[in-house]
């Protein structure tokens, strides 16, 4: 309809600032949602970025050693697989050799015995195959047949660092010394806990060293697929083409992702939630801005209807205008996000949501764009319908009809205050419904900001090395091969240190629940007499042997509740434990059962602790303790200290997302404040003219509106945080429960943070409300018609 377009054009031309702000707010929201998606990918889901960066295959096929398939005989299987439908490329087959890891020692020290023996699979390095992402140390030197690179989770499990020496048993059972050159991430690989073996890379010659019989070496192949979503189907095809007896293990990218994602869901969920809150806030801001302008211009709308605009046209006019602005904003936002992702390398990993690299990526972008447009359209629709209902009788005297009947307020003792304060507070009290609308609109960004800040503090608490949700602790471990000095002496030496509050002997083992394929960790620390201070949020602490507390992840996995008995198998030992409580468990997705060390009294259970968990006195920095404690306690060379491993998040990227969200919310808040300020200004323009005519200075009349704005902002922040903090606690706890750590992790932002937020809001509101007043010309006695 050309008339509608004309109106929109003229309206936008005369309200450039407003239009710009709406474009910025929607653009910011769209960009934030898209970037949050990609940052989430990068922050909460490093797997996706790594997978992309490593050029990892979508399907990893491990083949059993087979006597006939020697040497080049492997090539046919690669050729066969390359011909399969949907297969883009087959990586060159790499040989694998299975060894047993029996010992590790730090550089220069003698070998210490790791708990139990684990299988270490060595994979022959091939420059043509996708290599894992080196995390620390250096990559392999082909001439150094004793150098290996360990997979990250394997290195974590073995406490191995670059430079450490490992002792493995070769095919004949003889010890072979290997040195860790580097540690790498292999995103197509299940973590060793889930895979059941540790993985390392070595030059092919090393494989021959540990398994001279090539026929006994296994093979591994990777497939890249045209349609990654079809991985499951292709995996089935591969098994039937190669024969089930030939395939020892087949891992799709979906398995690998699922195995690695559980630790990081919390961050993703929380940021997603904040993003949605921002979308809601943006939609409300748009609604508020549109509503405010419609209210300020009822006279014009009435005139348009008198001229022959139908109610439908009037409604469409406003909706179309907002959609146009929002559409521009979303386009700019998406473009900006794309440029940001391309130019800022830190964001580069998470481009998938924009590029559709991972199935559903394009759909995600589309969904974000559609959601933003839909939200804005819906938000604009309500005020637009109000506009459509305006009676077509234009005001006769050139002024707007009174929006509401203003009842005089008894200011009583307020009269003693400076006049500007009295008038400002009076106007707040008099137009209560106006106040409620403004405050409501502003509350949503405040709630969203509180949510974002709580996300920050909660994630900070969860990922901080000194615990945060748990008691600050470090783990100490003997580095000597034998039991000298004795356990008691060692524990006493550790306990004597000023930084240490308590010393708890412990060990850790993998446990299986009957009928479950996934493992959980049995964490046995402390004794019945001196139980470890777990953060128990449900049920009670351990009082006796065979009692355990469980993380939410463990409860979910076992399908158990607090108070129930559960059966487990560690190695071949069956156990029955009584779950008496639930603790906050940031490690392993909460799939941890914690019990006392003295519960392990079955035959074959360790008699000596593998480590001591040390709780620290308040104010101690775990990193410092880690560095200084061995020397201080006279245990240098005899113990090493490790920091607890929390969920593997990247706090930097997470913080960037939270800061970005806060900036966006600030922008949205600004739009809301501006709406409130302009509405207040328009409604009180006449009053202010009168006030100035009776002698209020421009400064004082600015103060009148500033007082009003400040009052609204303060009410908003008070109500907003009062509503937000309990709400946010529940939301975060719910997310904590979903993530396996368990409810009870929520941390509200500090009082100072809330106060700072209030101060910022109040200052911004005061400034925004006061500024337009300074620009009104001195009052003119006769308001002439259309000079509005």
């Amino acid at each position: 309809m050309p008339a509608i377009l004309r109106w929109i054009r003229a309206d936008l031309r005369s309200h450039r600032l407003h239009a710009l702000l709406i474009v910025l707010a929607t653009g910011g929201t769209a960009a934030a949602l898209l970037l949050a998606g990609t940052l989430l990918g990068a922050a909460a889901d490093p797997w996706q970025r790594q997978f992309h960066a490593a050029g990892s295959p979508h399907i990893r096929i491990d083949l059993r050693p087979s006597a006939p398939a020697r040497g080049s005989a492997d090539e046919p299987s690669a050729a066969v697989l390359a011909g399969e439908p949907g297969v883009l490329a087959v990586s060159p087959p790499q040989h694998t050799a299975e060894t047993t890891l029996v010992g590790r020692r730090a550089d220069g020290a003698t070998t210490a015995g790791p708990p139990g023996r684990t299988t270490l699979v060595l994979r022959g390095d091939d420059p043509d195959a996708a290599r894992p992402l080196l995390r620390s140390g250096t990559w392999l030197d082909p001439d150094d047949i004793h150098g290996i690179v360990l997979e990250q989770s394997a290195a974590d499990a073995a406490w191995a660092h670059p430079g450490d020496h490992l002792t493995v048993l070769d095919a004949r059972g003889g010890p072979v010394d290997l040195q860790v050159r580097g540690i790498a991430d292999s995103p197509d690989q299940l973590p060793s806990q889930a895979a059941g073996y540790d993985l390392g890379w070595a030059p092919p010659a090393t494989l021959d060293l540990v398994q001279p019989d090539r026929a006994a070496q296994g093979l591994t192949l990777g497939l890249r697929l045209a349609h990654p979503a079809d991985a499951g189907y292709t995996a089935q095809r591969v098994v039937s083409v190669l024969g089930a007896e030939r395939v020892s293990r087949i891992t799709t990218w979906l398995d690998a992702r699922a195995a690695r994602q559980q630790d990081n869901r919390l961050a993703g969920l929380l940021l997603g939630l904040s993003g949605l809150a921002a979308l809601l806030a943006a939609a409300l801001a748009v609604a508020g801005a549109a509503g405010g302008r419609i209210r300020a211009r009822t006279g014009d709308i009435a005139l348009l209807k008198a001229l022959g605009f139908t109610a439908g046209q009037v409604a469409w006019m406003f909706i179309a205008e907002q959609l146009l602005l929002a559409g521009t904003g979303v386009l700019l936002g998406a473009g900006g996000a794309a440029i940001a992702v391309h130019t800022v390398p830190a964001l580069g990993g998470g481009t998938d949501a924009l590029h559709g690299l991972v199935p559903g990526g394009t759909a995600t972008t589309g969904a974000v764009v559609a959601a933003a447009l839909l939200a804005v359209g819906a938000a604009a629709a309500l005020p637009a319908l109000r506009a459509a209902r305006v009676a077509p009788v234009p005001p006769t005297d050139g002024t707007r009809p009174p929006v509401m009947t203003a009842r005089p307020v008894r200011l009583g003792p307020l009269r003693q205050l400076p006049p500007a304060l009295v008038f400002g507070l009076g106007s707040v009290l008099r137009r209560r419904s106006d106040l409620v609308g403004s405050a409501l609109r502003l509350t949503v960004p405040v709630v969203a900001a509180t949510l974002a800040l709580s996300t920050w503090t909660t994630l900070d608490a969860v990922t901080r090395p000194d615990g945060g949700v748990t008691v600050p602790s470090v783990t100490a471990r003997r580095t000597t091969p034998d039991q000298t000095p004795g356990d008691g002496w060692l524990a006493n030496a550790l306990a004597a240190d000023a930084a240490v509050q308590g010393v708890y002997p412990g060990t850790e083992m993998q446990a299986l629940a009957p009928g479950q394929s996934a493992t959980l960790t049995l964490h046995a620390v402390g004794t019945t007499d001196a139980p470890y201070p777990y953060t128990v949020v449900e049920g009670r602490a351990i009082h006796a042997t065979d009692e355990a507390v469980a993380g939410q992840g463990a409860l979910d996995l076992l399908g158990a509740r607090v108070g129930q008995w559960v059966r487990l198998t560690t190695g071949s030992t069956p156990r029955i434990l009584h779950i008496v409580g639930r603790n906050l468990e940031p490690q392993h997705g909460g799939r941890v059962l914690s019990t006392g060390f003295d519960t392990l009294d079955r035959p074959g259970d360790p008699t000596h602790p593998d480590f001591w968990q040390l709780t620290l006195r308040p104010g101690q920095d775990p990193a410092e303790v880690q560095r200084d404690l061995p020397a201080r306690a006279g245990l240098a060379g005899q113990t090493e200290i490790r920091l607890p491993t929390g969920p593997v998040t990247r706090p930097g990227a997470l913080r960037a997302s939270v800061v970005g969200l806060l900036l966006l919310l600030a922008l949205i808040g600004l739009v809301d404040l501006l709406t409130t300020a302009t509405a207040g200004f328009h409604e009180r323009r006449r009053d202010l003219g009168l006030l100035r005519a009776i002698g209020l200075t421009p400064g004082q009349s600015a103060l009148v509106l500033a007082v009003r704005g400040t009052a609204i902002a303060l009410i908003t922040v008070t109500v907003g945080s009062a509503v937000a903090i309990p709400l946010v606690r529940r939301l975060i706890d719910r997310q904590g429960e979903l993530s396996g750590i368990g409810a009870g992790i929520a941390r509200a932002p500090s009082t100072w943070t809330v106060l700072a937020m209030a101060a910022i809001c109040a200052t911004a509101a005061a400034a925004l409300c006061a500024l337009p007043v300074l620009r009104i010309p001195p009052p003119t006695p006769a308001p002439d018609g259309s000079g509005r």
Binding site: A10, D11, A306, G308, A311, P392, T396
Partner: protein, 253 residues
């Protein structure tokens, strides 16, 4: 009227009643008005403030729906039309000039006029040509790009008149078009109304100003929401015209 086929009046009101709600009490504004306006007439509606002049005009324009009574436009009953139907009717058949211009403040003079034309389905080019012609006619060609805030009261009223006339309506409704004007601007606006009346436009003029009313050829006096008098304005006899003001006012002594 000698024609065998009675020509329907352009606009006819029959027993129109309309009240306003003020607080919780109904205040009758128009209480039973029957009025017939034929093609080519120039009718002034006068009366003290509060007599229901503006309400009557709003009812005649479909801006307010009558509580009771019938309204006929060109032989078609229109008082029961839906709001959107009325809007479309207004675009094509009505030109409305409001008190103090009521121009859209964000639109230039040209846009104010063209928007109405485009709304009635005119192409952008035709609208521009019409607008140009009208502004030339009204002596405002140099103000096309100005905003309403830059115009004097008289200029605003002339722009409002141009806006009302751009669709060449059958019926021009004007609500106190000279309300806030000085006598020179009043004279200009009234001269323009007479001119468009002579060109065949039917005009209903609501006014408090006797001079404006005397421009019309029929004066309807409202009192308390009812028609108190409905009279044709007589041309004063030529002989008396020559006598001049002395006949009207006795200048002292």
């Amino acid at each position: 009227m000698t024609g065998s086929e009675p020509i329907p009046p352009l606009l006819a009101a029959d027993g129109v009643v309309r009240s306003h709600l003020s607080g919780s009490t109904l205040i009758p504004a128009v209480s039973g008005i029957s009025l017939r306006i034929d093609r080519g007439e120039f009718v002034a509606v006068i009366g003290p403030s509060g007599a229901g002049k503006s309400t009557l005009l709003h009812v005649l324009a479909g801006l307010l729906r009558p509580d009771r009574g019938e309204l006929w436009l060109d032989g078609r009953r229109v008082d029961r039309l839906r709001e959107s139907a009325w809007a479309r009717l207004r675009r094509r058949h009505y030109g409305i000039v409001f008190q103090s211009g009521n121009l859209l403040p964000d639109f230039s003079v040209a846009d104010n006029i063209e928007l109405t034309a485009v709304l009635a389905g005119m192409s952008g080019r035709t609208a521009r040509e019409r607008r140009r012609q009208l502004l030339d006619d009204l002596g405002l060609a140099h103000k096309a790009a100005a905003g309403p805030g830059e115009l004097s009261g008289g200029e605003r009223q002339r722009v409002a008149l141009a806006r009302a006339l751009v669709n060449r309506p059958q019926l021009l409704l004007a609500d106190e078009p000279t309300g806030n004007l000085d006598s020179r601007s009043t004279r200009d606006v009234l001269a323009l109304l007479s001119r468009y009346h002579e060109q065949g436009t039917t005009i209903v003029l609501v006014t408090h100003d006797a001079r404006a009313a005397s421009t019309a050829d029929r004066v309807v006096s409202l009192f308390d929401g009812r028609i108190a008098d409905d009279a044709r304005v007589e041309e004063p006899p030529a002989a008396r015209r020559a006598v001049g003001v002395r006949d009207i006012i006795d200048f002292g002594g």
